[in-house]
Subunit: 319 residues, 4 copies
Amino acid sequence: MTSTVISLEAVLEKADQYRNWGKWGPDDELGTVNNITPDKIIEAAALVRKGKVFSLALPLDAGGPMTGAYGRVNPIHVMLQDGGDVASGAQEHLAELRYTDDAVYLVLQCATQWDALAHIYHEGKMYNGYGTEAVSSQGAAKNSITAVKDKMVSRGVLLDIATYKGKPWLDVSEPIEAADLAGAAEAHGVEVGPGDIVLVRTGRIGFVRERGSWGDEYSGGPAPGLAISSSEFLCERGVAAVATDTWGIEVLPNETADVFQPLHIILLVNAGIHIGEMFDLEALAADCREDGVYEFMFVAPPLTVTGSVGSAINPQAIK
Amino acid sequence: MTSTVISLEAVLEKADQYRNWGKWGPDDELGTVNNITPDKIIEAAALVRKGKVFSLALPLDAGGPMTGAYGRVNPIHVMLQDGGDVASGAQEHLAELRYTDDAVYLVLQCATQWDALAHIYHEGKMYNGYGTEAVSSQGAAKNSITAVKDKMVSRGVLLDIATYKGKPWLDVSEPIEAADLAGAAEAHGVEVGPGDIVLVRTGRIGFVRERGSWGDEYSGGPAPGLAISSSEFLCERGVAAVATDTWGIEVLPNETADVFQPLHIILLVNAGIHIGEMFDLEALAADCREDGVYEFMFVAPPLTVTGSVGSAINPQAIK
Amino acid sequence: MTSTVISLEAVLEKADQYRNWGKWGPDDELGTVNNITPDKIIEAAALVRKGKVFSLALPLDAGGPMTGAYGRVNPIHVMLQDGGDVASGAQEHLAELRYTDDAVYLVLQCATQWDALAHIYHEGKMYNGYGTEAVSSQGAAKNSITAVKDKMVSRGVLLDIATYKGKPWLDVSEPIEAADLAGAAEAHGVEVGPGDIVLVRTGRIGFVRERGSWGDEYSGGPAPGLAISSSEFLCERGVAAVATDTWGIEVLPNETADVFQPLHIILLVNAGIHIGEMFDLEALAADCREDGVYEFMFVAPPLTVTGSVGSAINPQAIK
Amino acid sequence: MTSTVISLEAVLEKADQYRNWGKWGPDDELGTVNNITPDKIIEAAALVRKGKVFSLALPLDAGGPMTGAYGRVNPIHVMLQDGGDVASGAQEHLAELRYTDDAVYLVLQCATQWDALAHIYHEGKMYNGYGTEAVSSQGAAKNSITAVKDKMVSRGVLLDIATYKGKPWLDVSEPIEAADLAGAAEAHGVEVGPGDIVLVRTGRIGFVRERGSWGDEYSGGPAPGLAISSSEFLCERGVAAVATDTWGIEVLPNETADVFQPLHIILLVNAGIHIGEMFDLEALAADCREDGVYEFMFVAPPLTVTGSVGSAINPQAIK
């Protein structure tokens, strides 16, 4: 379906055009999250009108979308103390109280998640020009997701492309162009501007649920998603972040034969726009279709794992 | 300092008095989080007046407060791909794009965190009467923290007991009685009611920072904290949750010779009030002292680890 | 292929007949490993005639046989320090020396492994009558694999059933009866007696290699393997341990409609015979076919993980 | 106690003198393990005279020597299924059989262990000249410990330096010179030659046991150990491997002001001699003192973690 073949040069041109390195100083680690001003936060809170909260997180468990490729396994949850210990008398050293306890081995980008600005490199540089030495085995010294630990609070806007196109879900490899984003915004009656966090729905999680399995493609395979032209919409409006309900936000196969995930290079490396992936937008979208309101307060704090280059999150859309 | 010795009978009496089992039906897994109504959420959002966000999370890293006792180790962060791989050419199978990736072994209650209602048992029962078979090695089938995945959005109130008592921080083993909570609320000009989430500051994280180490006592040792009488304040007002800046919310040594952590039995097991621990309240408290406003919107979504009995969190206080 | 349906009663009868509880005292945690006498060890060492060592271990990596079912994931190997850190200058705090370091998350029975006597229960009891309280979330207080940390040194005997039956490998679900074991021993010119460790080859790892994948069945699925009658051969001869090149030693589907893995109940729970699984016997078997010698010194020490109920191992057959 | 200050030049001179790069071909990954010939293995087996086995492994548990520095935490053992699950009915989907299962997060060099030849770099090179690109976040492509998966079977010789010096244990920072090794060998009535694996006892584990704690120094701190001159004894005799009962085999503080762990550079990087650390030699040494026999068969297979740069082991000394 992704018929247009776009050249590396065209990608690099857009990367140049939208590059924000140095815009907020040589030490900046926030990128367009800088566009979330105090007024924006106040504006976001004012969108809470019916007191309804949507969790946009997939469950973190062994049934998740990961295949194990490249070390990305699903979460491994282990109990350190459980009800069996309570029942068997293993805690009788405690007076009256009994407890349970647990831990998880969590690949930080295994499900609903933020990519940190440190997640992607191009030609040896990440956002704001930091080099490869900035991410050692000890983690990221620059652009860790912890840089935004108190920043992911803003106005959220849902652009439900599947509904806009009159479908329950987009087809595999169906591209979302800038015009689709603009058209959906208009149809939904919302404007998108600086500091907004844009959630783009393809409906693929709905498809996966109906099928009853993640299938071969949901994680790492062909997917509908943002085309390179979408950068025009996102970068020119100064959005703080963009997320989809797919594994990698981009249309796959990519439009580029000689660049893998070109939008990551434009958005994350150059423009400094944070990327969210595998957001479960199904219940939120149903509500938006029902009340016609596609904007809301959005709060999605990352875990504070020092030096981490991404974070599993439980994003909250509050209407 | 905890001079009053309170009997097991007195604890059980309070447990009986404040027990909410069955109040929201036999299948309830929310407890007093049920008190967070849509109106409460709208009221919370209306408290966002200056557009300022505070992250209340400690860093998740090897320098955290855990000692390893009972399997509670500090977070272990590992890089699956890092800048060294980008530089060495280990990713040359990818076209143009290069990436970093990571994972964490995370004890779910190792730092700033929620206790799930499944975290504590008394006499073989947890909140709402569920038995020990409800938490196996596969996790909690009832009262997992995931039950509140879209519920931890409400009005937050800071009760800064240290400031109220005219100290930078409370002494080790200094109890916080119901009267202290009421006095601080009055001094701060706030009322506490149903569905509120109450954050109680002892100042001990400030003390730890000044000392430059967690010391022997911060995790698992003697601490200032809530006395049993505090349950009168918290339960009678119907708060949704209560959190402190200490490891276990309660005054330690406990006031009870024959019950360990008696308030956990009253609040978590019986009243169904969620408990938060190791919240970093220092920056928030400084701001509240400055502007005199001790209420705010509070958003603290747990991770969605299926069956988990607690969750590391990054709570957001939004003023 | 497993046509005979054997009743629960028949299984229990054999379990009774071969039960060794109390035989080596009420505190015994070794079972028939007690049959490995000093003379047996000397006899084993005398079998080292050509100075050739065979490692019988599968590789421990992401390409292993585990499917993730029941939490049994393949090993997760992570680098704590690597060559990229050396190259990038991340270790310049060290004088001259540079290093690499690593860790693994290892499900202890994910590949070539010993089952501890604590691995299996029947009617609430494991070997020697220890109850369920003996294995809490803190591990096994009795019958841990660490009980044999200096015991897995003995004479090894290979019974190559596939070769004996004139096949490269047994068919899925092909049973190995007592008569097959006796016949193979005779054909190989070996006797099996007290304290021996018997390695039974089905050839399925050879099949998997030829096919190029573990397939659906290798881990957890249908398999050739030991039939219930094999217990007559193994228990009456007093072998210390028995291992196969399949995931669970037994023929699957089992011969029993109402008992899962009945031989585990007879051998591990009752007779106290340690069980080894997923031993890679291909190279060893080729050598035995060549020189006609099916006995050797066998050394397979478990890891010393305190309280563990199994252990990944790298067994050494020394001829 | 380490009074002599040795220069970097002197270290590099010894490194040059004993360098074995290319000796066994440009692709060699074994180093002096090549000296373990079939005859050597036969000779080793002939040393089994009384049928007694010693496990030289420390327990792998939370009470181990690691401090957490540099990510080296003690083993984290977790139960995936335990007796509590059996008792509570959580396994009633299984017919008759019940089971326990477990896993471990294991830093591969956290206790008794082999250093792989890939563990140490000097001037960007490891043994046989392989570069930093050979160890990525995916592990070691060269010189992994798995290269010796069937090689660590040889004659073992115990050199009990503490006993030789008439002490229960050496003092902190007491050096072991070449002359001490030669003197102990003579006193013990053993010769050391090509392919031997030499175990050097300082007695510090005995000291730790008497003190009742690992103390500040056992892991990573000052220690008695091999001085640089010991390389003359070890390299000129062509030993396959050398191990001690201390954390890093070398005397600490090192004799060199400007090189950390200089013997690692000489032995591991240049001579290709495998290094073993934290071997528990106490029981073996007591037996050797008793029967006067300081040689034995030694079998210490590493785990087969693909690409690993070290391995926890359970070495077996068989007399």
